[in-house]
Symmetry: C2
Subunit: 173 residues, 2 copies
């Protein structure tokens, strides 16, 4: 049995609100909040438990992040499809993307839907593609495999680089 | 058989480099790049294929994003564990977090490792917790379930809100 850490933080915002779509899916946080946290409790359970993501779990936060990623992917797919088939709609969508942030995918689609009847059709198409991509095409098993591999390889690299660097310094002395 | 969209973009940067750890895991992009893309090809395959993420797949990009998220979670867990047991190390880590960005988790750990022998121990602990959390504790099935649910519910909400809003306008006329 291991001890778990519970870190209550109520005001964790999820997405950075940078205008005009230059970033998406950011999960900002401030560790300054941690300094004011007095109510840290340790409980026993079979795995490390991290609360303190507001009312959500880490899985929910990660899913929300992926949700915006899927909107971004869907917008790219639709833009690519329109490029060869419907130049006018392609231009409309590119112009809209320039003026609106994709940080919050839902907000982006809602705004697109209200822009004009033609933009509404584009929004409906993006919603459809986003759902299909998430439910059918995205390789979830591959995501898990890659992330686990990344964790192991990154740890090895960080430690190896450190050893190489420090042994190099020792040799020079 | 469906057509897939291939969007080559070579210079897509992965993480926003905002200093001092106020955000993490951002995947910035610029759709201005899309305007200069001339080499869009449509090929036949059984699923929508989105290339154009540099040399990586969407799954790799998402895994890299999660990798930084796990570093963030690990830092939170370690900070919480230290708060009650080792106040001095707790203070050291909080101060380091204040001065260094967590946008790139590997860079953060590498820098922490080089700060001092005490910080090196903290870095080793964060690497260990990050790997354990990713490999053992993170609920991958739950992530997939939540993201799919989010996609369906968000689409329904966006369309429902639009209908409610426009029917309200119609009623007022």
């Amino acid at each position: 049995m291991e001890s778990s850490s519970i870190l209550p933080l109520s005001n964790l915002s999820i997405f950075c609100q940078k205008p005009h779509g230059t970033t998406f899916g950011a999960l900002p946080f401030s560790f300054k909040q941690l300094k004011t946290t007095s109510n840290i409790t340790l409980t026993n359970c079979q795995k490390m438990h991290v609360s303190g993501f507001g009312e959500a779990s880490p899985e929910t936060k990660a899913a929300k992040n992926l949700h915006n990623f899927f909107t971004y992917v869907a917008v790219r797919i639709v833009i690519a499809q329109l490029a060869d088939t419907t130049p006018e709609a392609h231009k409309d969508l590119l112009e809209f993307v320039d003026r609106h942030s994709l940080n919050d995918g839902d907000k982006f689609c809602a705004a697109l839907m209200r822009e004009s009847p033609n933009h509404k059709k584009l929004a409906m198409r993006i919603l459809e593609v986003r759902s299909a991509y998430c439910n059918r095409d995205f390789e979830w098993d591959n995501l898990e495999r890659l992330a686990k591999k990344m964790a192991d390889e990154a740890n090895t690299k960080i430690m190896r680089d450190y050893v190489l660097e420090t042994s190099h310094v020792d040799n020079e002395k």
